[in-house]
Assembly symmetry: C3
Homo-oligomer: 333 residues x 3
């Protein structure tokens, strides 16, 4: 497949410099591995060295980099080169898949007669859409996705393979050493433009619904407990987990493998680092971290063992300080 | 859908106060969001304030709260309100789904002719039940569940979508830098009344079986390695993992994202906090935790950097103490 | 099922001592639970006590243990008893499944006409193999596996149930508080002799491919981000995760629940302990760990609280040291 620079600029805007609009592009590639038929991009001025050395046919750059880029050769000048690059990948994919049908229900999918699937949505092979579920316009369920009873998915969403929407939340009442099931009577409501990664699970609510607002992006193998509320445009990386009834504000990001405990609240624009465990509500925007630093195993062993005495070490420091104060008093007497 | 208070008390017991048995209930809801057609519950005396303010048609309360509840309005008095609430959700679900068939094998499921499925069990859409597998009475496999060769599931279990029972345990013998597969000749045996969350995996044993005792509850995306033994009524929250050959005693709970390493033993009634890594056997009942506390990223960076010198800090404290002792001796001479 | 010791030694080599080659073996079992019809093995001299006490019909031992083993009874002497045991499990499985067909495409699988499946490969029930995907000779896709568009799997691989190969990598460009999707134009390339555990996900690359080299073994619920490169014979235990563009050298091992952050490099023969978070490249072979040690909850609480003051504790130790030096100088004056 190929696209001409003219097609690209025609579709996405930007100013083409030092190249004819009929120049053919055969691939999109990073600066360092791009070859003579490739389109590349410079989103971070730190990589300016790579720009100069790149063999790309054309490089997408910001206005500030225009001169530097033109010294090397052809470029497209665009306000936000990274977003331009993102849209270029979309254009590429569109052309690549022009001949593929992407709406309707695959014959191997099991869709309940009482489910509503928008005619412009696509339900892929071996998906299950249960009674009362609703799938919005332009939404794509890749393959082997389950959308449970009464759960709804908005418009233009992508649910990757193996996603489970609407399994029962984890709710049991303890009774004499056994667990009595609390039936989960709520559902899951997913907004528009949401993407959900492979094998990710979002549980239905116990009484009310679990809610995923517009524009949320979840990576693979993420776990969202019952009655969680994810604000608009939240992004969560792989293997992250949010326990029941937590509320995460709009525009938050949660790193891979991070855990947010139940019933907590995260303000808008809170950023949780990878593998961090959030054990208290975070009411102020900012970056939060809590990870044991990796070390050579024998060094870690010593530090970890000492960590168990940390509180008593503090007491010993206090004692030393008091004694020193005492001594210095005595010394001055 | 609606149920009358008479139907509820008739089915579940308890004493109805200040309301006619023909009062209709349209929803079960938390105290703070319940409206005039709703049934709610007070399980924790701490929420007594919410009780007084609740607009619920009727509230389930313990005998000790009877007077307080009646000052507000209608109530059901029951010994354990939380368990009563759980059973009310079950009653609700039962009525809601009265018209749905929940036994037999969905035509899209692939069940080996040499598997045994109890006639009262339900095998949902796109499930796979392999040769020699056995599914007990009243057990439900939601959708897209795999029960592997020779694995058995007891009575009244629920396996949510995407569960994989009986994939090979992770066993390899190292030979000159490569891995020689150890075929996993055991199976998985699951007891009665077990619930297994979406996309959770339980591996078959290497030589003997992996065993899940009666009443165990596992949340989503949990990993149970080969030859693990989970005692009766163990509960494990989402994304928890148990490595090969670990034994977890009855009535233990494991928090979300926690990890139990291989070959360890946990006594009965051990409770592991979320995201904690259990690296040694825990022989005494109790609550165990090991999580790096979350902090603002710049504060964390300082503390994490210092943590790598913790052992040497202890040495410096020792040295300070010795010197101080020496000084004080010298001082008294 | 049974195999004679003669069949076993005939297939796998080794020297049979103190038993006729027609002795029948009915099971392979660990030393401590093996009975009179069972074959067992001693791979670690530490378990020599168990050897003496074992009731096994025959025990696989190393040449150095030959005399000790013969004092107990029958044995097979082999250079590497653990590898011999592994191959014995393979022989066992082979015989057990001699009558089962294990090639071709199950009628319930959905294989695109433009996918290439080697005639000796097996595509199990309810798998999805998309357009342009390639499945190599002798490879087995258990059940409910998805191999995405243009992804390739080499020869003799095993993909367990629920595996998703080739879902979109997690890539978005931020634009005014929303996320613009970066289409993932690369694929996944899996080498030969790779085993991938249940519900594990390997994402397709953004521009180039995600690469899994020969002989890699991944356990269940593992997450491999886009453009990751796993060197030959890497092994990763359950719930581990590798973020985008990380490169892990040949022969590395990653423990269960461990996380490797994006764009890092691990040299060959790096061993990451379970639940460790790798936040920097590791250029030297060795064992690396970073886990908060588990403790009784009340002790943990004290130490965790103190940990937040660790940096300031170091400052206080410094101050104490300086004062002490000052004092001792003053003392000697």
């Amino acid at each position: 497949m190929s696209l001409s620079l003219g097609q690209i600029v025609g579709a996405l805007g930007g100013t083409l410099e030092l190249a004819g609009s009929d120049t053919e592009i055969f691939r999109i590639a990073p600066l360092d591995s791009a070859g003579p038929g490739d389109l590349s991009f410079l989103s971070n001025p730190r990589y300016q060295q790579q720009l100069a050395a790149s063999k790309a046919a054309c490089v997408i750059v910001a206005p500030a980099m225009r001169e530097a880029a033109m010294q090397r050769g052809a470029c497209i000048v665009a306000d936000n080169p990274y977003v331009y690059f993102a849209r270029a990948t979309q254009l590429w994919k569109q052309h690549e898949q022009a001949h593929q049908v992407r709406c309707g229900v695959h014959p191997s999918a099991v869709v309940d007669p009482l489910a509503e699937v928008d005619p412009t949505a696509y339900v892929g092979p071996l998906c299950v859409v249960e009674r009362g579920a609703r799938i919005g316009a332009g939404t794509v369920l890749k393959s082997r996705v389950t959308v449970g009873e009464n759960c709804s998915v908005g418009a233009r969403c992508i649910l990757h393979s193996g996603v489970v929407l609407g399994a029962d939340g984890f709710g049991f009442a303890p009774e004499r050493g056994t667990w009595v099931k609390i039936e989960q009577l709520g559902a899951v409501r997913v907004g528009d433009d949401v993407e959900i990664g492979a094998n990710t699970c979002i549980d239905r609510g116990a009484l009310d619904d679990t809610v995923i607002e517009n524009g949320v992006k979840l990576d693979n193998l993420v776990q969202i407990g019952h009655n969680v509320h994810l604000g608009a445009h939240v992004a969560m990386a792989g293997c992250a987990g949010v326990a029941g009834s937590a509320r995460i504000g709009a525009h938050c990001t949660v790193g891979g493998g991070a855990v947010v405990l139940g019933h907590l609240e995260l303000a808008e624009n809170v950023h949780v680092s990878a593998a961090t465990v959030v054990m208290r509500s975070l009411n102020k925007p900012g970056v939060y971290t809590g990870v044991f630093p990796v070390d050579e195993n024998n060094k870690w062993e010593k530090n970890a063992a000492t960590l168990k005495q940390l509180h008593s070490l503090r007491e010993r420091i206090k004692a030393l300080e008091q004694q020193q104060q005492q001594d210095s008093k005595n010394g001055t007497q």
